[in-house]
Amino acid sequence: MKAPIKERIPGFALLSIAVIFSVIPLASMFTAALHEQGTVPVGIEWPADPQWHNFIDAWKVADITPLLVSSIVLVLGVVPAAALIATMAGYGLGQLRIPGGSVVFILLLLGLTLPREATIVPIYYQIRDMGLLNTQFGLMLVLIGSFMPFAVFWMRAHFLTMPKELAEAAAIDGAGAWQSFIRIQVPLAVPAVSSLCLLLFLWTWNTFLQAIVLIDDPSKRTMAGALQNFVGLHSTDVVLLNAGALLIMAPTIVVFLAFQRQFMKAMISGGVKG
């Protein structure tokens, strides 16, 4: 049953205000990015002569190509490894119910509310002592570690819902724990694992603090981390700055629009933000 028209009008109005509030900063960046370089645009205003080539110039100036490559390398280094390790641990804790598992679980629980700032200073010295400062490998290790509490939590919750008899039935057939994990449990866990991968992708891609602390060379950072350097160099050129920042945001926006449903579902059930 729909609400009467009289009530619907203020409702639509309020909703529209919220939508405009959400979209306007991005729209305003977009129109600013289309103005002539070196000029200072005013607010949100479609330029008389949109300079589409600004995006090409910003791509060159911000050196987007190595940034894209670097972010993709980081994602490929972090997401599959973190998902595999977390799925294994989730299986161990949720399905095999290993002895002492609750202690591990409580330890991980502690990590869920731990802010990144809490460990960032020691992490810097630790990675330095490992000789991994300014390497993507070092950043990957740190990210995998920092994703563990949530990722294991997530996979454990999945394996808790799987009937215990599944593993036991496999055990009778003579399948070892590893065999039953690979052949039976992993295929059944695909939906949970893929939502997890989506979240891990987003978090890796948007990583900022660890990227700027551990890697000096912006072209080896994440896209978000590279923004810091880009702003430092071009803060005076509003047009180019906005064009570059939009290019840096574009990949996540495209991936989000493509996998909208999955993203929202995963982020809601995760109850966490990136």
């Binding site: 049953m1 729909k2 409702g11 309020l14 909703l15 919220a18 939508v19 959400s22 979209v23 900063p25 305003s28 960046m29 005013v42 607010g43 949100i44 205003e45 390790i85 977390a86 161990g92 804790l93 095999l96 119910r97 290993i98 330890l107 990590g111 509310t113 731990l114 802010p115 990144r116 700032e117 960032i120 200073v121 020691p122 992490i123 810097y124 290790l141 570690g145 920092s146 990722a151 799987m162 009937p163 008899e165 036991e168 039935a169 009778i172 948007n206 900022f208 603090l209 978000a224 923004l227 810091q228 702003v231 509003v238 920042a245 926006i253 909208q260 993203f263 929202m264 809601i268 933000k273």
Partner: protein
Amino acid sequence: MTTLRSTAPTTSRRTVAPKKKSFLHRWSGWLFVLPALLFYGVFVLKPLVTAVEYSFYDWNGITVATFVGFENYVRVLTDPQLLASIGHAFFLIIFFTVLPVSGGLLMAALLRELRSKGMGTFARTALFLPQIIPGAAAAIAWVWMFSASGTANQMLSAIGLDGLTRAWLGDFTWSLPAVGVIGTWINLGFCTILLLSGTGKIDASIYEAARLDGAGFVRTLLSVTLPGLKQEIGVCVTVTVISALASFDIIFMSTQGGPGYSTMVPGVQVYQLGFTQSQVGLASALALILTALILIVVLPLQRLFRSED
């Protein structure tokens, strides 16, 4: 799954597998957990323990550290500047939590009520978008919005409020609320979508009954939607409070804590102390106090919003 549950031979297993093997089998499960535990231990727990160690020393990161006991902690709790940064983080809760959760509740109720397919999908996508872009990029968008020639001032002028225009992020009074608005922008969509998915679980007949009783939109929102979403509101509050207290990306990229210290928050302060001012011990003490504050705020929230049934 249910058929499997009822037919699987739960009891026969013990007779088939000898007890000793089952014992070994149980412990071998640790091999599955070990890699995760190793990463977590080396890159989260170890640095956390090291932070505790650092916090008792005066160390510039290079020369020999001197043990100073609780001095760093005392400094965090007495230095007006550091205390102010903690105060700012709590002030941000208004913008990161109170506004997005109450706004999200209203939006979720409206989206449910209006049930307009096209508008609904579009609104959900638009509202959620700020949540997925990097916080650092969101900051850049808003630096431009709030600049002297930005859209915020343009809109104020358009409605005849020229007198209010200013460079928002450069203003000692207005920079903190302005930075807060960025948090509202990011968190509103998350809360809306989470609460909207929660309304799906509320029995439609309750809404029907409320309408038959003549309850209007506001009445229904307060007596049906709000109590029905207790758990979801709890999740929203927890997540957004953590994002307020531990904020870093947005503030680092928009104001760096300035002008002066007017937008300084513990996250940015830890970074500056640790990496530009070489006060590793003090940075660690502040980071640990921040962690403790988050726990002190979040744990009671969990209890408060736990569903009774």
